[in-house]
Structures are given as structure tokens and as C-alpha cells.
Amino acid sequence: MVQAMAEMKASDPYLARFEDTFEREGASHGPAWLYPIRKAGISRFAEIGLPTVKHEDWRFTNVAPIARLPFKPLLEPTEATIKLDQFHFTNLPSNRLVFVNGHYSAALSSILPQEEGVQIGSLAAALANDGALLQNYLGRFAKADENGFSALNTAFFTDGAFIHVPAGKAVREAVHLLFISTASEAGAAIHPRNLIVAEGDTRLTVIESYVSTISAAYITNAVEELVIGENAVVEHCKFQEESRTAYHVATQHLHIGRGANVISHSFAFGAKLSRNNIRTTLAGEGLDCILNGLYITGDEQLADHHMIVEHAKPHCNSHEYFNGILDDRSRGVFHGRILVQQEAQKTDAKQTNKNLLLSDDATIDTKPQLEIYADDVKCTHGATVGQLNDESIFYLRARGIGIETARRILIHAFAGEIIDRVRCQPLREELDRMVWDRLEENPHL
């Protein structure tokens, strides 16, 4: 007995918490079919735990500080009055779903009238009302076994966004998912879970932002499934500006059907440590998918993007464009794996990762990885790491532009390569202004 206690495993507090929450209280957190999914999540977690740097996929990102935090999942809603206009994109015309510490706030949310059948709302509410539809999707694309974080999310999630656009429908204004953390306790864990289903021939733009009102060592551990049907046109923009003391881990699964046109952006500006797992399955022929990302880090921040693009069918194009701007002692990690299945002939896959190091102490680990089983494909990758170009700075100065402004202009242009790909115009303009303001406020990022 004594020995058993001494050998208490790192995952035990999580398991105990799971028992308390879901096994003693019963099915209060969703329909009956959900319980086995949660249970599979926690079992998987018990098996694998949180990743360590010994895992090849986590070699450059040490999550030990997260593992050391107490585990306090925020399972109940918190009351809060929050002024939304302090956050970006809240002035854009949009449907807005606001989540405070992971829980939907009806009072802060607003949804415009939609075409018949379109659902935009909270996942918890959808689970309570319409389990059958969700059962076809939830947890089918984001497997709990992806990693310990996904497994934990599957076990503990309580809410998030649910968007369902039935075939042929369009959501005219963007849907803005605003995740606000007010958690002041170290180890407070928020597990947002988003399910977005855009069926065939639909139009949808989703903006997803993660922000905070306080500075604390909380953790956001999000999982998102985007299921995109044939010929759908979808723009998805994730914007992460969490507290600089917080941790942000997210796993995003895109499952894309034939002929669809999808662009997914990731802007990682905040958090002490952020990790985005982006898993893309190109599941139909002739589709076009762009993953477009920008990370801007300073201090001791770390921003990690880990992509797997799987070409499962022929004639698909995938492009990954990621730029990083790193200052101070901050770190960037880019891992881009392109997997081309045997059936996926005529694949055109491109990957670029460009990094601008503004300080001698900033570092970047960039790792392309091509895994190709088809013989008639075009796959390219390229990575660059560099500093601001002295020639360009001198050229600007020789025209009367001061050195600080010259630097800002060049950094902004580098960020602009990514921002320019944002199709939603007001969103693009706000991102552009935001980067400029950030550069003006602080010569160090």
C-alpha cells in the first residue's frame, strides 16, 4: 500500500478528477453516447500521459511546465461582465459566440438571422438538444489518441462552438468564436471543443480568437474538428493572443471533401508557450487547401506549429505558408509533414517556412518532412532563416526614413506576406493594423 502510494503516476490527479466529475455525477455532461468517448479519452491519457521531449513530435517543445501545474479543469461556467470591444475583431460585422473560460455566454453572444437549417451556437446546447447529428461527427475526426492533450480534451471538454451549415447554404457574415480567459488560478484548465460542419456547396468564414483579461498560468487545451464537404468554400482564421504567462495547446482537424476550397490561417502572437497541431486530410479529389500562418514572439515565448497534410486523393493542391518573426530569447518551431498516399497522384504540395530573427538569442527549429507513396506528384518545401536586410534598411534611410521606422516597415512587409492571404477584407485590414500597432508600440516584440 505504502509502495503503491509512492508510485503514484503523473496521470493520477487527472484520473481522479475524471472519476469525480463524470463517474460520480453521471451523465450531466452530455448524452449517453458521449460517455464512452470521454472514457476512451481518459483511458488513452492514462496510457500515454502528456508528451515529453523524447517524443519526436515534441522534441523542440517541452511541456513539462504544464505537467507541473496543478490540474484544475474549469467545468462550471463563471459569471462575468466583460467589455468585448477591448478585443480584436469585435467590431467586424459577424455572428459572435463568446466563451468565458470555455463556457458559452449567451448574454455576450449575438447571432444574426440565418438561412433555414443553419445552426450556430454552443456545443453543450447542441449536445443537449440534438445528439443524433453530433454523434456522426464528434470525435470521429479528432482522435483521442493523437496526443495526451487531445485525449484530455476529449475526456474533459464541456463546451465550445457548434456550427452546422447544411448543403447549399451560405453563412454570409463571418462567425466569430471569441474565447476569453478570466482564470486567475495557476493550472486552471480550459478545454474548448469546436465542431464545425460545412456540408457540400456551402460558404463559411470562421474567426476564432483566444484572448484573456488577466495574466496567469492557465492553460487552454482546445480541440477542433472542421468537416468540410464537396465544393464548399471555407475560410478559417485562428488568432491566438493569450496572456504571456499562459499555455495554449490546440489540435485542429480539417477533413476536406472533393473540389472544396479551404484556407486556414493561424496567427500565434500570445501565450508563453503555444502549440498548434494542424491535421489536414484531403479526402476528395481536386480540392485546394492553404494553410497560412504567422507567429510573432518576444521575451521567452515559444510558438510551435506542427502540421500534417495528408493527400489521400488525386489532383489536390496544398500550400503551407508560415512566416515567423522572433525577437528577444523567443523560440519558434515549425514542423510540416506532407504525406502523399499511393492513390494521390497529381498531388501538388508546397511548403514554405520563412523566419526573421530580430535578436541573436532568438531561435527557430524548422523541420520539413515529405512522405510520398505516389509516383506522379509535385512536392516542394523550403525554409529560410534570416535577419532584416541591411541593404533594404539603408535604402529606406537614404530616402529620409528613420532607422526604427525602416525596420518596422520591413518587418511589417514580412508579416504582410501572410496577412495578405486573408480573404475576408475587414479581418485582413484589422490584422494588418494590429501588427503595425504592435511594432510601433514596442521595438521589441
Binding site: 537614404a398 530616402r399 529620409g400 512587409a413
Partner: protein
């Protein structure tokens, strides 16, 4: 002497212990166009770079006065704001930086320094339009990134267009003729000539006499091995073209300085 724009006195400078300019003297007054000619490696471009304020050159002796002020003590941007302009031999491509935005920022910095109100985007476009025509630049030019994907001729025209917009008091043209076909050369020279005023000055740096048939200098200086070895009127350029730099060099050997 009160109308001196640029005065270079016994300038010695180089890079990493290698002396390139070995005592250059030059006086340029308002209203004058000077040409500095010289063979490759004579120090022409070094002179241009030092005047514009490029880092990496070490001045070991002498001084450069711009309108009576110590030019070498000024940052590159300060020089530009005070009216010094370098037309680059190799204009830099700056992807992602819009030409209109770039030039408007530059112009407004210079206007601020001159105590003039800044121009907004509309005012700037109106101001720039005629000058674009003068350099035969296409309408969409201002929407493109600075020099990105420009042909050699376009880049040089862009330099002179910037000069037209920024209205410098001292323009240094570094090998502006290199890489230009005859039509582009005419357009560029014509632009430069139309920017001549009684209160400004131009320093044209070139290897070949060709440019000087279009931009007629008041004075020609021959720079050889870091020294101005001969100065004269515009006919010196023609003589140099017919007889070649060898003639000057031989002459130098015969009559040591």
C-alpha cells in the same frame, strides 16, 4: 564660397585597412553639375556611398561639408532630410513595401524637416503624377512593391522619379547610366536635366562618357586610384572617351604628382 553645396577636403577613406580614397578634394557650388569619371576600382562608388552615409567605410582623414555642416557626422536619414540624395547604382528590391507608401513616407519625413505640412495619400498622388509622366512610368507603378521585379531601366527611372519627388539640393547619381538602353538613357537624362535649378547641385558618377552627352556637366573630374588627377570642363570627358583612361594613367606616370 557662401553658395558651396558640397566641399570635400582631403578625404581619405576605405574599408578594413584598405585605403580607397586617398585624399579627394572637390568643391560643388549651387547651380553646378559635376561629373566624376574613373576606371573600375578608382573609388567612384566608394565616394558616392560615403556621401550617402553607408556604414562600413572608415574615414581616416579629411572632411566633407554639406552647406557648411559636417556631413559625415549625420545619419543617412538626416542627410536625406537635409537634401542629399543618392541615386543607387543597384536600387534595392523591397518586396511587400508598396511604392506609394514608401515614397510618401520619405517625402513626408523630408517635408517635416523642411517645416512643411505632410501630404495625405490623395495629395501625394496628385503631386507624384506629373513626375511619373516625366519619367514615363506606368500608372500602376506606385501600386507595386519597391523595385520588385522591375527591369534595370525601370529601376533607374524609379531612382530619378524619387529624386524628382524628393527635390534634393545635392543629388549624387551613381552609375545611373549602367544597364540602360539608349531610350531609357534619354528619359533618365532628360529627367535629371529638368531637375537642375539654380539652388541645387548634381554629382554624376560614371565610367563612360556616354551619359555626359545627355547630362552636360559644368566640370569633369577624373578619379584614378583614389585621387582626382585631373579636372576640367565638359571637353575633358570627350577627350577621355577618345583617348581612354590609359592616356591619363600614362600621363600620370610621366609626370608624378
Amino acid at each position: 564660397m557662401h553658395n558651396a553645396i558640397l566641399e570635400i577636403r582631403n578625404l581619405r577613406a576605405g574599408v578594413e585597412n584598405k585605403e580607397i580614397l586617398k585624399g579627394v578634394n572637390l568643391l560643388i557650388r549651387a547651380g553646378e553639375t559635376h561629373a566624376v569619371m574613373g576606371p573600375n576600382g578608382s573609388g567612384k562608388s566608394t565616394l558616392a556611398q560615403i556621401l550617402a552615409g553607408r556604414e562600413g567605410y572608415e574615414v581616416t582623414q579629411g572632411e566633407v561639408l554639406y552647406k557648411g555642416r559636417d556631413l559625415l557626422d549625420m545619419d543617412p536619414e538626416e542627410r536625406a532630410r537635409e537634401g542629399v540624395f543618392l541615386a543607387f547604382q543597384y536600387p534595392v528590391e523591397i518586396p511587400g513595401v508598396n511604392s506609394a507608401y514608401f515614397l510618401k513616407s520619405a517625402l513626408n519625413e523630408i517635408r517635416k524637416a523642411r517645416g512643411l505640412p505632410e501630404l495625405d495619400a490623395m495629395e501625394f498622388l496628385a503631386f507624384a503624377k506629373d513626375k511619373m509622366k516625366m519619367l514615363e512610368l506606368r500608372e500602376d507603378f506606385l501600386k507595386r512593391s519597391v523595385n520588385e521585379g522591375f527591369s534595370g531601366g525601370e529601376k533607374k527611372r524609379n531612382e530619378i522619379f524619387q529624386m524628382a519627388v524628393l527635390e534634393p539640393q545635392l543629388a549624387v547619381l551613381d552609375e545611373t547610366d549602367s544597364g540602360l538602353d539608349i531610350d531609357a538613357l534619354k528619359v533618365v537624362s532628360d529627367g535629371v536635366n529638368r531637375l537642375r535649378r539654380g539652388n541645387n547641385a548634381q554629382l554624376v558618377i560614371t565610367h563612360y562618357q556616354r551619359l555626359l552627352t545627355y547630362i552636360i556637366p559644368d566640370f569633369v573630374h577624373v578619379l584614378v586610384d583614389g585621387r582626382i588627377v585631373r579636372s576640367g570642363g565638359k571637353e575633358l570627358a570627350i577627350e577621355l572617351e577618345t583617348r581612354g583612361y590609359d592616356w591619363i594613367m600614362k600621363h600620370l606616370e610621366a609626370v608624378p604628382a
